[in-house]
Amino acid sequence: MARVVLIGNLAQLTGGVAEFQISATSVKHLFQQLAEAHPALAPHLEEGVAVAIDGQIYQDSLFEPIKPDSEVFILPQIAGG
């Protein structure tokens, strides 16, 4: 199962739990499972997060694959100037 870690304030929406083991094959799949388990996370997942999968950061990419042994970090979205 993929190791999923919430970075920043997101853990406050999951009762303080920042780390999960989740079986998910894509970012979309991951978000669905997180939102079902913690509905307060849902609006944040829809807008305003980046997802790092095995070191590579992705933004707004729902179909990015997640492997069974992936390390996934959910981060604040990154912009720039």
Binding site: Q12, Q59, E64, E71, A79, G80
Partner: protein
């Protein structure tokens, strides 16, 4: 203290007559005398809880309204704004990110935190701990061209807008949303931009110009004055930063703590989040804790400024790293190399880095003649490193092969640093045509699919990926046409070096056809030849940089002169080296201004005192030496050419590098920016060094 003020405001009589509401509540009862030259207007307001109505009589051509203001106390400084009892900007703003949820409103909009390892255990292992507090002033992006726009709404309600912007698709979206229009009815052209640096990723004038044009039934142009720009548009945050780092006696960093407090302006949304994430990014440290506060205060809402948030936090961290180097008597570049983030290092914000070029930038600085040049008294040398994530995003480009074989390239992200030239080089390479045969333009919002704005160091990275996609379509199309023309199978042909070439036995029967050959007969073989790359570019690779600066301080005046400056930064692959160098130089110069001179100066009344380039002093060409550049190229494996964004990283190291050079030159650790002549002179005098 309540202060009553009166102000006489000229108001158009006609406007007043037609308005049904004014600031104080204008009752629209138009009582004219017989010749129509007088207008009696009742005004109502609340005074001490009592509703007062007074009728003012205006003669046409002679008009005034007396307005009484209640001037409220203000707070600007971020630390003052966080104090209990500070003037409250919003009654309904409660700090997010703290438990339990606060019941009292606050100027602290948000608290954020990232943690890696065990910070207390880390400090327990340290042989040396350095702790410092820093302050930075708000600075402006300083684009030479102010915000400007022209809007023209036609009778069918559709709008054309020309705007000095970093993102014309974003302008379109904002105008449509704010004015209740269909997106398809708004067409925006990005003008050639006179600088943006993040400050033109938002809208100020465009929706207003569209609304006014609709009302006036004429084109409307709006241009901010320089004073308007300084007083009304978003600068970056001023900040207070506390940094505490621990290291072993042989120089291994074992703990890094920071607390960042950033001004957001009147509404939440400072760049403290990226500041938190970037603070220790250049280093491999097992134990990190960074806390950030987003704080509102009485200033314009901040806007992005080149690597938003990162220069501030890394100024503080790089200053402390330099102190550690001095205390341990370790060369500052060697100390950074010892602790540098490399491929596989876990960043404090979570993921492990892929291939990165920080080590290469440090080593290349060490090899420069600059690094080994001796200095004199009152001269100092400083070094610092920095980082920016970079992003990709939605990007759409088109390539069209014209009838004569030339190629028209249309991109959709405004060109603020050489995008057109860089993409043309990629298109020429992909299609095997001469560079001069590719003509790049930036299309308006009606010509391409959605493009995210130019920012986040994304445009060359994303645009070139999209060009590769568009070129693939053209190559596939021409290969298919050749198969039909030659009655060949796909494995008998290939596209190579600008032509479709027959393979094997077929090569004895037919000659290769170039793109220009296909273009001549395009209509007969399938129609116009072109491709559109539509992607949401992913795989952006971070760019690390290291800056080296020599400066000289005049002890009699406090003035600092930059003597020499070298930038080494990882570009992955420089599509257009001269433009990449330009980005390095531009970021360095902006950092020089930020470190040595630029700041918003407020009076006791809370008003901005230096809303012009005379008193808000940015570096000009004569203030700085040539900025030498070293293009490090550690390819980004996720990009077909290895490209990394480069535009933002170069503004991150200068503040720390210059502060470190100042310490070397004067023996004084400056912890407040800017290190402007009056402050430097005072510091020298306080230590009795000004006569030396």
């Amino acid at each position: 203290m309540l202060v009553q003020r009166q102000q006489r405001l000229p108001v158009a009589v006609n406007q007043l007559a037609s308005d049904s509401r004014g600031v104080l509540g204008v009752q629209n009862r138009d009582r004219r005398n017989r010749d129509g030259r007088e207008l009696a207007v009742p005004l109502t307001w609340s005074e001490g809880g009592v509703t007062v109505t007074k009728t003012y009589t205006f003669r046409r051509g002679d008009y005034a309204i007396d307005v009484k203001y209640e001037v409220l106390p203000h707070v600007i400084d971020v630390v003052e704004a966080m104090q209990p009892g500070a003037p409250l900007l919003h009654d309904d703003l409660f700090t997010v990110g703290v438990e339990p949820k606060p019941e009292k409103a606050s100027n602290i909009a948000k608290r954020i935190e990232i943690v890696l390892g065990d910070i207390e255990a880390g400090f327990a292992k340290a042989d040396i701990i350095v702790e410092r507090e820093f302050n930075t002033a708000p600075v402006h992006q300083g684009y030479i061209e102010p915000h400007a726009t022209l809007a023209s709404v036609s009778e069918d309600g559709s709008a054309e807008v020309w705007s000095s912007t970093q993102g014309h698709f974003i302008v379109r979206a904002h105008c449509a949303r704010l004015l209740g229009m269909d997106i398809g009815k708004v067409r925006v052209t990005a003008s050639e931009i006179g600088g943006g640096f993040g400050g033109k990723t938002v809208v100020y004038l465009e929706p207003l110009a569209v609304a006014l044009s609709k009302k006036a039934k004429r084109p409307v142009k709006m241009v901010m004055s320089r004073e308007d720009v300084f007083k009304s548009s978003g600068p970056t945050s001023g900040a207070n930063i506390k940094v505490k780092m621990g290291a072993t006696k042989d120089g291994k960093f074992v703990a890094g703590f920071a607390e960042l407090k950033y001004q957001a302006g009147a509404f939440p949304g400072s760049p403290v989040q990226p500041g938190v994430m970037c603070a220790y990014a250049p280093y491999d440290i097992e134990n990190v804790k960074v806390i950030g506060y987003d704080v509102v205060s009485n200033r314009p809402k901040v806007a992005a400024y080149r690597a938003p948030g990162a220069p501030i936090s890394e100024f503080a961290v790089e200053s402390v790293v330099d102190e550690i180097a001095k205390k341990l008597e370790i060369d500052p570049v060697e100390l950074r190399l010892q602790n540098a983030a490399r491929e596989g290092t876990k960043a404090a914000y979570g993921p492990k880095f892929g291939p990165i070029g920080l080590e290469e930038t440090l080593n290349s600085i060490k090899k420069t003649e600059h690094w080994n040049t001796p200095l004199r008294k009152w001269q100092g040398r400083g070094v610092a490193s920095g980082f920016w994530f970079n992003i990709g995003g939605e990007t759409c480009v088109s390539l069209t092969v014209n009838e004569d074989g030339t190629v028209s390239l249309m991109a959709g992200t405004p060109d603020i640093g050489g995008l057109r030239a860089s993409l043309a080089a990629v298109a020429a390479d992909e299609l095997g045509v001469e560079y001069e045969k590719v003509r790049p333009i930036i299309g308006d919002t009606g010509s391409l699919g959605f493009n995210f704005l130019t920012g986040g160091s994304r445009s060359a990275f994303s645009g070139s990926m999209a060009i590769v996609e568009a070129a693939k379509q053209i190559k596939a199309d021409l290969t298919a046409r050749a198969c039909k023309l030659w009655e060949a199978k796909p494995d008998q042909v290939e596209f190579k070096d600008g032509a479709v070439r027959p393979l094997g036995a077929l090569a004895e029967k037919v000659k290769p056809m170039t793109i220009a050959d296909f273009a001549k007969t395009a209509g007969k073989t399938g129609g116009p030849i072109g491709g559109v790359g539509r992607i949401n570019a992913q795989g952006a690779g971070p760019s690390f940089g290291t800056h080296l600066v020599d400066l000289e301080v005049d002890p009699e005046t406090g003035r600092t002169t930059i003597l020499r400056y070298t930038v080494a930064q990882d570009a992955g692959r420089a599509l257009h080296p001269a433009y990449v160098e330009g980005q390095y130089q531009g970021g360095a110069v902006q950092g020089i201004g930020w470190a040595l001179n630029e700041e918003y100066i407020y009076g006791d009344d809370g008003k901005l005192q230096n809303a012009g380039f005379l008193d808000y002093r940015m570096p000009v060409a004569s203030d700085v030496p040539m900025i030498d550049t070293i293009l490090v190229e550690v390819g980004n494996p996720k990009h077909p050419y290895g490209v990394r964004g480069v535009g933002e990283t170069p503004i991150v190291p200068p503040l720390g590098a210059i502060a470190n050079a100042m310490e070397a030159a004067t023996g004084i650790r400056f912890t407040e920016l800017p290190m402007s002549p009056p402050k430097v002179l005072k510091a020298l005098r306080d230590k009795g060094l000004d006569k030396a």
